[in-house]
């Protein structure tokens, strides 16, 4: 019976990690769906979210609920800025051939990589390469007892925030005009342009929404773990990327499901293996998925590129 309780606890921890991956994976998926390119700078948006949250907390000491809108705003701003710097210059050619060409896509991928390197190094320069502690008053580590299991309050906050944000995203995508535009552009950019959708504005909106989710994930993890560093974005960024690919690149429910799967399997794996090996689980899942389901688990046979 002891094992069962312990096991359940690990599953809950894993689900909360998975929620963080999911928030990031959605950003990846939205941007991939709309632009058909991978945004490698997404991990840096996450780091920016965490650092801005810390700065606000140390400077103003506001109540916790006031931090979230600020982080959302900064996330949106960094998304818009990222789009302007790393993606807009490579959308000069809007005809169908260029949009499908491999060279254009690789150029954009590498430019986002370059921007992520520069951003990370600048942050290292400003904040130093070491871990920074979060003031203890804001930490979300109080244990909360739910029946026989103890859950950190951070896990609950992460669940709640993720649920709210996913709900809001579903509302945005399926109940508003903007969401219709995003779905149209993601389906066929040229077609959307022909029916009068402002594709540039839609892409900027998508970046803003995706980066808001990423930045929120950053500050949540910062408050949960208690320490942040300029390098913190790399690991969740790669995991979210993996979740997106496993989910089938353009399917948001698929990305969320796979992110939760990754989180749970990692946290269960730490029980059987030492923690250094847990990354191996993620990458093995990725490779196994790709080998047996080359389109991802929830992919629907996108047009071959």
């Amino acid at each position: 019976m002891v094992f069962d309780v312990f096991f359940l606890q690990q599953v809950i921890n894993g689900l909360s990690i998975g929620c963080v991956y999911a928030l990031m994976a959605i950003g990846f998926t939205l941007i991939f769906g709309v632009l058909n390119v991978v945004n490698f700078a997404h991990g840096e948006v996450y780091t920016i979210g965490a650092f801005v949250g810390l700065m606000v907390i140390t400077a103003l000491a506001p109540p916790l609920l006031a931090v979230v809108p600020l982080v959302l705003a900064v996330g949106a701003a960094s998304g818009v800025g990222l789009e302007r710097i790393a993606f807009r210059p490579f959308r000069r050619f809007t005809d169908e051939a260029s949009q499908k060409s491999r060279a254009m896509r690789e150029a954009t991928l590498l430019s986002s990589l370059a921007v992520s390197i520069v951003t990370r190094e600048i942050m290292m320069h400003i904040f130093g390469g070491d871990m920074q502690g979060i003031p203890s008053g804001y930490l979300l580590q109080q244990p909360v007892a739910i029946g026989p299991i103890m859950v950190a309050s951070g896990s609950l906050v992460i669940f709640a925030t993720s649920a709210v944000m996913l709900g809001a995203l579903q509302f945005l995508l399926y109940r508003t005009q903007t969401g219709l535009g995003i779905r149209a552009v993601s389906n066929n950019q040229l077609g959307a342009r022909y029916v009068g959708i402002n594709t540039d504005r839609t892409i900027v909106t998508t970046f803003a929404v995706g980066s808001m989710l990423g930045a929120t994930a950053g500050i949540l993890v910062g408050l949960y773990d208690g320490a942040i560093s300029p390098h913190m974005g790399f690991a969740p960024g790669v995991k979210a990327f993996v979740a997106m690919v496993m989910g089938g690149l353009s399917s948001i429910p698929g990305a969320v499901a796979c992110a939760l799967l990754l989180g749970v399997s990692e946290s269960i794996a730490t029980e059987f293996l030492s923690s250094g090996w847990k990354d191996l689980i993620t990458y093995s899942l990725l490779v196994i998925t790709l080998v047996f389901f080359p389109q991802g688990l929830f992919g629907h046979g996108r047009e071959r590129a």
């Binding site: 991978v38 790393a86 210059p89 490579f90 491999r102 060279a103 896509r105 690789e106 150029a107 590498l110 430019s111 990589l113 370059a114 921007v115 992520s116 390197i117 520069v118 190094e121 600048i122 290292m124 320069h125 790399f234 790669v238 990327f241 993996v242 690919v245 690149l249 030492s274 250094g276 090996w277 990354d279 191996l280 990458y283 093995s284 990725l286 490779v287 790709l290 080998v291 080359p294 389109q295 991802g296 071959r304 590129a305």
Partner: protein, 355 residues
């Protein structure tokens, strides 16, 4: 346009210019110049200044020349975006280090063995992943690269984990030991030149044309009777073989390796070299490696800003020089050069093969 009038750009040169100014002569002169720099100027500078720092940069540059040339073979020529190349470099380095420290094997054995072991892993990786297209393949290589890194870091019994492996013997050849800076540099430079030459011969051949066909449109190449899957696997194996060689050179010249030498950022650095130099162009890969190694060292005075400079350089070069510093010629140009004999004019003055 009248169909019967061939495009002037496609016409073979009916009046061949004097040999010294033709493409072949110019290429020969360039090759001589590069060899003179590699085997004359750089060793002279190393001896003259006696600076171990300078020698170390020269050796690192030569190792990265091999790496970027080999990545160019798979990413530039065959069109498979691989973002886990550093892992195979790591496999080569660890293979050479373990074979020489644990089993005491000489350099003549460890160098090819490192290449072959890396190539074997490349083959095992390529076999299942070659069905994947574009971004899926890139992600698979990323995942496999990280897997290899995690294994190097955590398999402490064999790789000594984060402590790394020390005391790897220097390059030696039948009793001769490369223990001075100059001899170490020369040994690495000879091997690097040989590797680049092999890759050059491979890329500028009918085989290379088949790889380019694969890159441009693999479905079309398939329908033309090219064995796409096999070519992809072969190009990946060749690239990982040379990455393994580069790893062995690193192990034997620096005497110490640790898993952090082979992380994701290293893969990105190699990819940046290929992109800055020009995807698909072998001289571009060499120049890109020189540029991306020498630039941060030249910027050492401004210290911590050099990684920012590397990122900015990468960004600006993609933005301003989308085809890289030494762009690859058009695919048509390659075909024309390769088949130029077939296109030469016959006695009547009409060009053959293009109408």
């Amino acid at each position: 346009m009248d169909v019967n009038v061939p495009d002037a750009r496609l016409m073979p040169d009916t009046l061949a210019p004097p040999a010294a100014f033709s493409g072949r002569g110019r290429r020969f002169a360039w090759t001589l110049l590069l060899l003179a720099v590699a085997f004359g100027a750089v060793p002279a500078a190393i001896v003259g200044t006696g600076s171990s720092y300078l020698a170390q940069i020269a050796i690192t540059t030569m190792i990265f020349v091999i790496l970027s040339a080999s990545l160019n073979h798979v990413t530039g020529t065959a069109g498979l975006l691989s973002i886990g190349h550093a892992a195979f470099y790591g496999i080569g380095a660890y293979a050479a280090a373990l074979l020489s420290t644990r089993l005491g094997l000489p350099f003549v054995v460890t160098l090819p063995a490192a290449g072959l072991i890396a190539a074997l892993f490349g083959f095992l990786v390529a076999l299942p992943t070659m069905r994947l297209v574009s971004i899926y393949f890139a992600v698979a290589t990323l995942g496999i690269g990280e897997m290899i890194y995690v294994v190097l870091l955590n398999w402490v019994d064999v790789t000594r984990g984060p402590m790394g492996i020390r005391g790897i013997p220097p390059i030696s050849l039948f009793g001769w030991q490369a223990d001075t800076l100059l001899s170490r540099y020369l040994a690495v430079a000879v091997i690097a030149v040989a590797c680049v030459w092999v890759l050059h011969r491979l890329t500028h051949s009918y085989y290379g044309n088949a790889l380019r066909a694969l890159r441009e449109d693999d479905q079309c190449a398939d329908s033309m009777g090219i064995n796409v899957e096999r070519l992809k696997i072969e190009s990946f194996v060749v690239a990982t073989f040379f990455a393994g060689i580069a790893g062995a050179l690193l192990a034997h010249t620096s005497a110490y390796i640790a898993p952090d030498n082979f992380r994701f950022m290293e893969s990105i650095l190699i990819l940046a070299m290929v992109v800055v130099g020009g995807l698909g162009s072998l001289p571009g890969a060499v120049v890109g490696a020189l540029f991306m190694i020498v630039l941060p060292e030249a910027l050492r005075d401004i210290g911590d800003y050099r990684m920012i400079a590397v990122g900015a350089t990468m960004f600006l070069s993609i933005l301003l020089l989308p085809k890289g510093m030494l762009a690859e010629g058009t695919a048509l140009g390659f075909v024309r050069r390769s088949f130029s004999r077939g296109w030469a004019t016959i006695a009547g003055g009409t060009p053959v093969g293009w109408k």
